[in-house]
C-alpha cells in the first residue's frame, strides 16, 4: 500500500532539507523514493501549507521503572485532579505529573512524539521497567541501564580490575537488561549516601570503596566508547541542585578528557554562587564550555512553573531536597544495593527567586548553546515539568516577545539577575526539528528514525503552520507511526503498540562465571532469571524488538 503526503513543507535536517515543498511516499511502514508512475497510490494526504517533520524523540523522560510507580502511589491527588475518561478507542487513565502508562502513550502521540527513552532503568528493576513500558502504547521505547553505584561495579573498580573486565560487565548489563545505553547517576554517590556521606564532589572518595566519581565516570565512559555504544555515557553529575555546582560540571567536562559524554538535565547543574542570595546562573560559563568541547552533548531539563514530582535515582540529592517537598511527603529508598530511588513532590513557583532563576537558567542554556545537534529539548519529565509542557517550552524558545512577556511575570530579582532578557535568539523550525528529531536519533544511534529519507521508518508528524507555536506543537494534524495514521487533529485515531529499541554489544562470555558466583552469593535472583530474553520483550506487549547496530 502506497501513501502519498503531498505538498507539505518539509523539515529534515539529516538531509539538509529546510522548509522545502516536497512529496513523501510511504510503503509498508517505510518512507520510500517516488514510485514509478504506474504504481497506484492508495491514499493521498494534501498537506499544502503544513509543516512536515519526522516523529519527535524524547531522549530523557522518566516513564517506567519503580520510581514512577512510587510517585503514582504517593500522589493520589495528582490522579484525582486529572482524570481522563475512556473513549471508544482509548482507555481511561489519570495523572498530570505521573500519568498512567496508557495516558502517557496517548499524550506523547498527541504531541507528535513517536519514541521515548527511559533514562534510569536499574538493572535489577529492568524486567518491571520493560513490562511497564510495554504498557505505554503509541510510541517506541528504550531505556538506559543505570550503573556506577552498584556493588559489583564498585568492587571491580576498587580492585583495579582491568578496562576489559569492566567493558565486559557493562556490555553484559546492556545485553541482559535490553538497554540501549548506560546512564550514571551521581557517580558512586548513591552508594556513598548509604555510608552516611551527604556530599560527594568529583574527587571525593566513597568512604567504603575508596573510589571517586571521576574514576567511575572515566571507566564507564571509556567502556561505552570501547563497546561501540552509539549513545555516549549519559551522565547525571555530582551535586545536582547545589549552588556552585557549575564548577563541578565544568570539572566533569574536563574529566571526560575528550571522550563523548552526554550531560543530562544540565539546568540542574548550572548554578553559581554569586549575588546577595548566593545563587546565580552559571549557564553562560557552561554554554561556553559546551560550545568549545564537541565531545559533550546536553539535554536541558527545563523547569516550568506548577506542581510536579521529582523522581530520581540520586538519593543523596533527593534527601537534600526533601525539606522542600510539596505536598509534604517523600520517599527515599535503596534498591537491592544496585542504586537508589528518591521521589519528592515539588511545586515550582514563579514568584520564588530560586525557582524563577532555575527557569531562566534553563532557557539561557537553550539559547546560549550554539549547536542544536548537541542540545536536546527535555524537561526531565516529571522532574522539571510534565512532558505535556513541551509545546509551551517550544514557544518560549521560538518567540522572543512571548519569552520576554513571561520573564516580566516572574520574580523581579530573578529576572534582573538573569541575562535572558538580553538574548535575541529565536529558534527556527529547522533548529527545533534538529533538537527534537534528528539530533536525538543520531545521538542514540537510531539509524532509521529521526529523518524522512528513503528507508526510514515512517514516523511522521504533520503540524499546521500556526504563528502560535504552542498551539501548533500541542495539536498535530496528523501523526504517522510506522506508516499508520495514529493521530488526527491532535486526537488518537488508532491505538498501536510501539517497539523497544535495544543494543547487542559483544562481550567475553567468561564474565558470566564471575557474575554467577556474585549472584549466587549476594543477589536476590539467580543470574539466569536476571537476564531478559528477547521473547519476553514481545510477550509483554511490545510490537517489536528493534535491534540497533553498534558503531
Amino acid at each position: 500500500m502506497y501513501i502519498k503526503l503531498a505538498g507539505g513543507t518539509v523539515y529534515d535536517p539529516v538531509h539538509g532539507i529546510n522548509a522545502e515543498k516536497r512529496d513523501i511516499y510511504i510503503h509498508d511502514g517505510q518512507i520510500t523514493r517516488k514510485p514509478n508512475p504506474d504504481v497506484r497510490i492508495d491514499k493521498t494526504y494534501d498537506l499544502g501549507g503544513k509543516v512536515v517533520m519526522a516523529g519527535a524523540i524524547d531522549i530523557h523522560t522518566h516513564i517506567g521503572g519503580g520510581k514512577v510507580n512510587i510517585a503514582r502511589l504517593m500522589l493520589p491527588e495528582d490522579h484525582q485532579k486529572d482524570p481522563v475518561k475512556k473513549t471508544a478507542l482509548t482507555r481511561a487513565g489519570c495523572g498530570h505529573a505521573a500519568p498512567t502508562t496508557m495516558t502517557t502513550g496517548y499524550r506523547y502521540a498527541e504531541m507528535g512524539y513517536t519514541a521515548c527513552f527511559e533514562p534510569a532503568m536499574l538493572p535489577i528493576n529492568a524486567r518491571q521497567a520493560h513490562m511497564e513500558m510495554a504498557d505505554i502504547p503509541m510510541v517506541d521505547k528504550g531505556a538506559y541501564a543505570l550503573l556506577g553505584s552498584d556493588d559489583f561495579f564498585l568492587r571491580m573498580l576498587a580492585a583495579n580490575k582491568g578496562r576489559e573486565a569492566i567493558s565486559d560487565y557493562v556490555s553484559w548489563i546492556i545485553n541482559a537488561t535490553q538497554a540501549i545505553g548506560i546512564k550514571v547517576v551521581n557517580p558512586g554517590g548513591i552508594s556513598a549516601f548509604k555510608f552516611n556521606q551527604r556530599k560527594l564532589n568529583l574527587d571525593d572518595k566513597n568512604s567504603y570503596y575508596n573510589v571517586s566519581p571521576r574514576q567511575v565516570l572515566k571507566s564507564l565512559a571509556s567502556a561505552v566508547r570501547e563497546l561501540g555504544v552509539p549513545h555516549p555515557l549519559h551522565v547525571h553529575g555530582c551535586n545536582l541542585g547545589v549552588a556552585g555546582n557549575d564548577q563541578t560540571t565544568l570539572d566533569t567536562i574536563q574529566a571526560a578528557d575528550g571522550l563523548p559524554m552526554h550531560l543530562t538535565h544540565i539546568q540542574f547543574h548550572s548554578y553559581g554562587t554569586e549575588g546577595d542570595r548566593k545563587f546565580s546562573s552559571g549557564a553562560a560559563r557552561l554554554a561556553e564550555a559546551i560550545n568549545e568541547n564537541h565531545n559533550i552533548s546536553v539535554d536541558v531539563g527545563q523547569i516550568l512553573f506548577g506542581q510536579t514530582v521529582t523522581a530520581s535515582g540520586d538519593t543523596m540529592m533527593q534527601y537534600e531536597g526533601h525539606w522542600h517537598a510539596h505536598p509534604k511527603k517523600w520517599v527515599i529508598m535503596d534498591i537491592e544495593c544496585d542504586a537508589g530511588c528518591g521521589v519528592v513532590p515539588f511545586k515550582y513557583r514563579d514568584k520564588n527567586y530560586v525557582n524563577a532563576l532555575q527557569w531562566a537558567i534553563g532557557l539561557e542554556m537553550f539559547l546560549l548553546v550554539n549547536d542544536p545537534w548537541r542540545i536536546f529539548l527535555t524537561t526531565d519529565h516529571p522532574n522539571g515539568a510534565p512532558f505535556t509542557t513541551y509545546p509551551h517550552l517550544i514557544r518560549l524558545l521560538m518567540d522572543r516577545s512571548f519569552r520576554n512577556d513571561m520573564l516580566s511575570t516572574i520574580n523581579k530579582d530573578a529576572a534582573a539577575a538573569s541575562i535572558l532578557g538580553s538574548i535575541d535568539r529565536e529558534y527556527t523550525l529547522y533548529e527545533i526539528a534538529i533538537m527534537t528529531r534528528a539530533a536525538p536519533a543520531r545521538s542514540l544511534g537510531l539509524r532509521n528514525r529521526g529523518h524522512l529519507g528513503s528507508g526510514a521508518a515512517a514516523d511522521i508528524a504533520v503540524y499546521d503552520d500556526l504563528k502560535n507555536r504552542e498551539k501548533m506543537f500541542a495539536k498535530p494534524c496528523y501523526v504517522f507511526k510506522d506508516g499508520e495514521l495514529v493521530v488526527e487533529k491532535g486526537k488518537v485515531c488508532k491505538v498501536i503498540n510501539g517497539g523497544t529499541h535495544t543494543l547487542k554489544p559483544g562481550y567475553d562470555k567468561t564474565i558470566e562465571k564471575t557474575l554467577k558466583r556474585y549472584f549466587d552469593d549476594y543477589q536476590t535472583v539467580k543470574l539466569n532469571n536476571f537476564r531478559i530474553e528477547d521473547d519476553e520483550i514481545l510477550e509483554y506487549g511490545n510490537s517489536s524488538l528493534i535491534e540497533q547496530p553498534c558503531l
Partner: protein, 278 residues
Amino acid sequence: MNALTFELKSAPEFPLDVSPLIPDRLEGLDLQKIKALKVEYGKQKTSVSSLFRVSGRDREHIRIQGSTSRLQSVGKDMTRGTVEISGDVGKFLGQGLKGGRLEVHGNAGDWVGNRMTGGRINIYGNAGDYVGASLPGDTFGMNDGFINILGNAGDRIGDKMRRGMIVIHGQAGNFCGSRMYAGTIVVLKEAGNNTGVGMRRGSLILARKPAHISATFRSCGVLKMQFLRLLFTQLLQYGDEFSLFRKFGAEARRYTGDRARNGKGEILILLNTNSGPQ
C-alpha cells in the same frame, strides 16, 4: 421562604452523585434550570427532574427527601447555607465541606467529612467508617469544622485529622483517632481497640474507659483541667443535644501518647462527677 426541596421519585438503583445540589451551585438558577441540571447516576448523566420532584424557593436552604444510602457526595465542596436530608446518605457526606451546615436525619456511610475544612455536619443516626479521616495518600484528614454524630460511628474516626472537632454520642469503632495530628474527638460511649494509636498531638476525650489502651500510652493519673470546662461550656451553646455535657466536670484521667511517635497527644477519660460547669 420555604426550603428548596428535592423529593426522590423512587429509590435510586445505582449510586447517585448529588454534589451539584448545594446552595453555591444553585444560586441564581430558576426552577427550570435546576430541573435540567445533570447529575451522575450510575454510569450515566441524568437530569434532576427525572429523579426528583422539585419544589420550594429558598436556594440557601435545600432539603433532600426520601434519600437512601445510594446518594453520594452530599454537600461536596459546599461553602454556605444548609442542606437537610431525610433518610440515609452514602459515602463522602460533606467531602471538602468549607462552610454551611449539613443535617442528616438518618444514617451516613463511610468518609463523612473527608477533606473538610470548615462548616458543620449533624448526623442524627449512625455513621460508617473513616469519619473525618484521610483518603489513602492524603497528608491530612479533616482540616477544620465540626462533626456531630448522635448515633455510633465506625472505625478509624479522625485518622490523620489535623484540626476541628468530632463529637460522637454513641460508640466508636476501633482505631479511633489513629495517626491524629491535632484536633479534638469526643466519644460518649465505648471506644474500640487501639484508640489513639499513632497519634502525634490532639485530644481524645472519652466518657468511658475503653477496654483496651495501647501499651504506648502512659497514664499521668487524674488531673483537673480547666480547659475541659471551657470546652463543655462552649459545646452547651451548640444545641440542646449537648446538654448532657453539664454532668461532666473538669477532672479526667490523662494518658499521653502515642509514645511510639512523639507522645504529645492525649487520651482523657472523664470522671463523672455529676457537678457540671455552672
